[in-house]
């Protein structure tokens, strides 16, 4: 039974809710510093306790002792497909359509490139890629680079069209639309597209649908098969706790697997990589979305986080995520009502991911002061305080404490100190 949020009116009540939390045991699977409330797992997930041992094994036993033989003996070659299958299970992609590899940016290039190629054959007059203005910028940048090159030396006239929200999207979906590419949960606002409805919209207009799941995988329910999506990409270092910059993933719908070709045709995607043939021949299924030799230490260590995510009941995960974000919104609005904080995350739970963002005119300084007091959130331009709630290691008392620290920083004007107002690099 989900926690009754109306009862959480004191720290003690929050502590009690943590005790009753069916996911409470997961907290011990992670190593987090003492005295820290970590609300930035949507930027870099926490360190799983078992990751250290996994990394040590890869280094000393696999690399050091088995050396080159590890590619077969310790199954290094299989890591992208083995972990890809696990991630696919997390996002409802079925077996055999997903590989863990490269970076999200590069996988955007592959997925979008493959989608445009398919449309080039099926509906060659369509030359527009539709995305959201508020998309995480690298998705847009990669699309820009791709369509410029795809347009070709002689300029085939591809175009990137940006929209805000579902209504504008529907209006923009004309008969020139080749591909719609959206990030399921927005990195800044935490707003979540309705995956099923939007995919249907795109298909009805004759476009293919590419989903970026960076802020979804391991955080909110995703069912790519039910949504009938065409392609998906995502990262593993946020809610999947794979480690800094751990390899990303790319998923291809079974109906495209045999014909999808992508521009980065490297040897790992070749049908017979060790024949060393002169000409490229795309491998079977999703293996053709592999390119070059993968960073094994990062990849193998990342699997630990993916395995933890796989062991969680997704229904409980979503329930707790919504409970935490709803509680946070309510506490901030009740207890910090006289401060200029503006919620930019949807109140509607169906449209909310697993983080909450408020604008504050001095957001940058406020976040710096918060971080120094052990509440680690994130600052995003412009003026946005972002708080990520990873249900596996964030609890109700943490949420209470974060709000209280924020209240102190604002009530006491702590953020006004010059050291917080000085701008520097914030990640």
């Amino acid at each position: 039974m989900p926690v009754d949020l109306t009862t959480l009116t004191s720290r003690e009540a929050c502590v009690a809710a943590d005790r009753a939390d069916p996911l409470a045991g997961y907290r011990d699977e992670f190593l987090l510093p003492e005295g820290v409330v970590y609300l930035d797992g949507n930027s870099l997930g926490a360190l799983p306790r078992a990751a250290g041992e996994r990394a040590r094994t890869v280094l000393e036993e696999e690399w050091g002792r088995d050396l080159i033989g590890s590619w077969n003996k310790n199954h290094w070659f299989e890591l992208p497909t083995r972990i890809g299958d696990k991630i696919s299970e997390l996002v409802g992609g079925g077996a055999g359509g997903c590989v863990a590899t490269d970076t999200t940016s590069i996988n955007v290039f592959k997925a979008l490139g493959a989608a445009l190629r398919i449309q080039q054959e099926d509906r060659p007059e369509r030359r527009v890629v539709i995305s959201e203005r508020e998309n995480f910028p690298t998705d847009l940048y990669m699309a820009e680079g791709l369509i410029e090159f795809f347009g070709g030396a002689d300029g085939a006239g591809y175009e990137l069209r940006l929209v805000d929200g579902e209504e504008e999207l529907a209006a923009a979906l004309g008969d020139d639309a080749a591909v719609v590419m959206l990030t399921h949960v927005n990195y800044r606002s935490g707003a979540m597209w309705h995956m099923d409805r939007v995919t249907r919209l795109a298909h009805e207009a004759g476009a293919l649908m590419v989903w970026d799941l960076c802020h979804s995988a391991g955080a909110v329910p995703v069912d790519l098969t039910a949504a009938d999506a065409d392609f998906a990409v995502g990262c593993t270092y946020k809610y999947l706790n794979g480690g800094p910059g751990s390899p990303a993933f790319v998923w291809v719908s079974p109906r495209h697997l045999d014909r999808a070709v992508q521009p980065l045709s490297g040897w790992w995607g070749h049908r017979r990589p060790f024949d060393m043939a002169v000409g490229y021949e795309a491998g079977e299924g999703v293996s053709r979305f592999l390119v070059g030799t993968q960073p094994i230490l990062s990849m193998a260590t990342m699997e630990v986080g993916v395995d933890i995510a796989l062991s969680v009941d997704p229904r409980l995960l979503r329930e707790k995520s919504l409970a935490l974000t709803s509680l946070f919104i309510r506490l901030v609005e009740e207890r910090l009502a006289d401060h200029p904080l503006t919620l930019i995350t949807p109140r509607d739970e169906e449209s909310r991911g697993s983080h909450v963002s408020f604008r504050h005119p001095e957001g940058f300084a406020v976040m710096k002061a918060l971080i120094e007091r052990g509440v680690i959130g994130d600052y995003r331009e412009p003026e946005v305080l972002r708080f990520g709630f990873t249900p596996l290691y964030v609890g109700f008392a943490d949420t209470w404490d974060a709000v209280e620290t924020l209240r102190r920083v604002l009530d006491e004007g702590i953020w006004e100190a010059p050291e917080y107002r000085l701008r520097g690099a914030v990640t």
Copy 2:
């Protein structure tokens, strides 16, 4: 004074040469299994002793304790440029033109894409990429994928032209040649192009020159500046001992830095990545060759191997490399003269990298039998026994022992056992 090879006619003499070797101390910087002669460092370099501690620090202290703050506090953002500068020093590239990032395949795509873009502006009628038929296949595959997409939806007619050797290259360099892309040391034969002369040839014909240094960096002298090269790429997991699949590198000549643009325009290559601007604006200098978030655990650990390489006197490295490969060739030809072994590596030292390859009609079975007896070389299609000599941890007695083991495998027909003749995956 280089070792006098004519004196190395017994195992004892080889042991004595190891004792006198000025690079002997480097052997202890690496962890290698007992009883193994590792002649496959050109596929996967050995584990540096200090790598384990570096990985542990990144995991426990940087990821686990400092969490998201590590991007600044522990300089994760700087890793690609910091390590890139070090690699650049190793290959004579000067400061500021190199980044460590992604995979060699992907960096081939970037370098070749940028080179074609420049030619599109300067000499738009040139539409031919020239490479070598015996190039490592992924370079050719990536070129195929690039020119197919670069050709564009309307087909701008780019072409990949393959040649064998310098004479054919010179003949192929017509006024349609846009770019020459070669691998400095051939992965199979160990043959080395004359970098200065070939680069001059390409330039005189109006083409740009892209060098792949996978089998060169950390193994043979390279001076990209002296050669006047335009672009270079390479990997770090061979002679630089960076670990399995550790990130690759890409280098751009200073004369192209301000105008070179590459198709994978991701947020790490943006001029101001944290402004989250909608439009892509290429970053300054080589930073625009970065794309997405890098695998920090693999990247940071890799730096240990790069640092070791930087500490070596390159003249001593080359002297020992040539002494080992020359000794190996001589011993095989003297002591195994009655076996059908054909040297495919150049006898001319100026044209030889740091590995030696022999063809044998039953090469596959012979290599399997060798590996089982602790001499780890590599098999490459067709029929090629490949032996890599990393001067940092391979010695003269190792070389003697490898030849003796090979002699035993051949003299006694050990390779004829069914378990060796059965084909399976070999890496």
